[in-house]
Chain length 379, copies 2
């Protein structure tokens, strides 16, 4: 196993891209990553996407994206792990380069969600949950997260307002990221005024979907000595259905994958300068912080209340807006996290730069915690 | 890169499995492979499937299958490349073990197609083609293959009857494979009597869909010295849309991936004892034989006419019935090919054993040739 580096990154803004098709989004991000890397030809392309089969009528994205990117003939495949698809694609591409089998691997996450009626999109997203034992009961994805959040509040004695810092910090960062979907700040009053979505989840507890694509190019680290390196990479799973877990307040797969990534990277939570976590819902941000060792059990919400998650804090999260405010183009989200972490480590994060960032962690979650992939990057 | 071996294989019969869910099929094949290998726990599970999102309402098969197989927590992901999904999953799992990152990797292909109305299944399968430039025109998958077959007949002067040996050989082999869908032989008269599907494709030129799952367990070859080894593994792509190709009578991705696999394995077509090719349509069998060097251009059909594709022939194909008669559970098909090739090399192919088989090749095609993965196995 050789070390792997990220030679180039690219992204489209997260928007309602009415004027761009899914393939056009993927190509724009892919081209940007190739240009950033100064590379023309690649050996393979790993595409991540969740919903194109149902919402765009297009499967088989590997060869499609390869062709439209001018890479006809190269090895290409699509990976899917619901909202965790992009983290999984990165993990597989990483192994392909680490093995020595492939030299230049382009990973592209792309998703188009906003051209279909809301109920179709909601139904498509629900396929991340257990069709036979969750969706069958009529519960949506927001509903599942609402159950978990309610239990958390009950168990540890928090009120809704205690979750405010997650949304406030994410919006503050997104307001300074031109690629974010929601480029405006909110305050606690606005957070509390958000309308109910699925009690106790209100508007600002839930991330917005969006269209977008992000990409990065992987090479062997010894071919790119000054590039950001991947020093930890691990993926783990849990039950798809929330009710099958012994403890719905603990993300087993986050703990498992983070622990493995820490071991590989020979670092611990105290060494992480920023953490791009999967804040699809504010409760998920709290649970991720706990499972990854940034807070004791039941104290993830406190990390926000203590002011530790902002850019100058102990563990900055969602530094470019996170899922909450940069937006959540589901199958592409894990790539946005990796691209943003890379920009931070290159000192190119602009107005949201974390000063002196040297080690970054990203964590992409599929479903309600069923697939969780963790990467640790180093400048 | 270390060498990889196939320690265990498993499969369900290809049927209309009305009594079994998709997850149950995957678990049955996975359990059979684990039992065959004598292994309880694995490091990762690669699931291949094409249509579960649309036809079963279930995405996120990686963790779902892992959980129901008693492997909760392990790394797991789903790969999709249309009908070539399983070949792609094998390729990725192969690299993961070859890299040294993972020790025991279970690959499972599973598909459930027969519980939905035909038009829904046909629409789902059409997402393997180009949604914007092929499907938009109303053409189906059979239609695309019919265009290619008609051109082939015109260009090289064949009649419909010349393709008969492919279907006859496949049915002869399937009649002796208890896991096949169509366990009966046909003759030339029956072949010619098949009703039109999309002229010139008639009934016996097209493979039948079916439900099924197949699985195999990969380990490092040095841990399993007597197991069948993977000595070649390569994947390549072509345009998704047939009309974008310079030559619709040549499978570029088959040639590219076969050539790479031959190079890795240090063998050529003359060394291959059996070839599990992707005979989704009889025209695809002819084109695969040509692109992989078993026949000159335009003479793939002659390989059948010369009697070379039967069990005792120069290059036996579809030895357990192929897609044509074992059946084509699309996202699982590539795994069936690999499982059958492994059984042949172990001398466990029963009534369809190729005497003295030592080197086998498998080739899985996605779409009309857009994703093609080739593996070469050695006893």
């Amino acid at each position: 196993m050789r070390e792997v580096a990220i030679l180039g990154v690219g992204q489209t803004p997260v928007r309602e891209h009415w004027e761009m098709s899914l393939r056009a989004l993927a190509v724009e991000a892919g081209r940007a990553a190739l240009a950033d890397a100064g590379v023309d030809k690649v050996d393979a392309i790993y595409v991540s996407n969740m919903n194109s089969d149902r919402l765009v009528g297009q499967r088989h994205l590997g060869p499609l994206v390869a062709d439209y990117l001018g890479q006809r003939g190269v090895e290409a495949v699509k990976l899917e792990a619901a909202c965790g698809s992009a983290g999984s694609a990165m993990r597989q591409g990483m192994m392909a380069v680490a093995s020595g089998e492939l030299e230049r691997v382009l990973i592209i996450g792309a998703e188009k969600l906003t051209e279909t009626p809301h109920q179709e999109t909601t139904a498509a997203l629900a396929t991340a949950a257990d069709a036979d034992f969750e969706v069958e009961q009529g519960i949506t994805f927001v509903g599942l997260n609402a159950l978990i959040m309610r239990r958390y509040m009950h168990e540890y004695g928090y009120t809704h307002k205690d979750f405010a810092p997650f949304a406030i910090a994410a919006h503050a960062n997104a307001s300074r990221n031109p690629n974010a979907l929601y480029r405006y700040a909110i305050d606690e009053r606005e957070y509390e005024r958000g309308r109910d979505v699925a009690d106790p989840i209100r508007l600002y507890d839930a991330s917005p979907i969006g269209d977008g694509a992000a990409a990065l190019l992987l090479v062997a680290a010894d071919k790119a000595p000054s590039a950001v390196r991947v020093i930890g990479s691990a993926s783990a799973t849990d039950t798809v259905s929330v009710h099958d877990r012994e403890d719905i307040l603990w993300l087993n797969a986050a703990e498992l994958s983070a622990r493995r990534a820490y071991d590989q990277a020979k670092v611990g939570p105290a060494d992480i300068d920023l953490f791009e976590l999967h804040d699809a819902f504010s409760i998920m941000a709290a649970l991720s912080l706990e499972a990854c060792g940034f807070a004791e059990r039941g104290r993830g919400v406190r990390v926000g209340l203590d002011g530790d998650i902002t850019l100058g804090g102990r563990i900055p999260i969602s530094t470019m807006g996170g899922l909450k405010a940069r937006g959540h183009p589901v199958g592409a989200t894990g790539l946005y996290q990796l691209v943003e972490a890379t920009l931070q480590l290159r000192g190119e994060a602009g107005a949201t730069q974390v000063p002196g960032a040297r080690i970054a962690m990203t964590q992409n979650i599929g479903g309600s915690g069923a697939t969780i992939t963790t990467h640790i990057l180093k400048a």
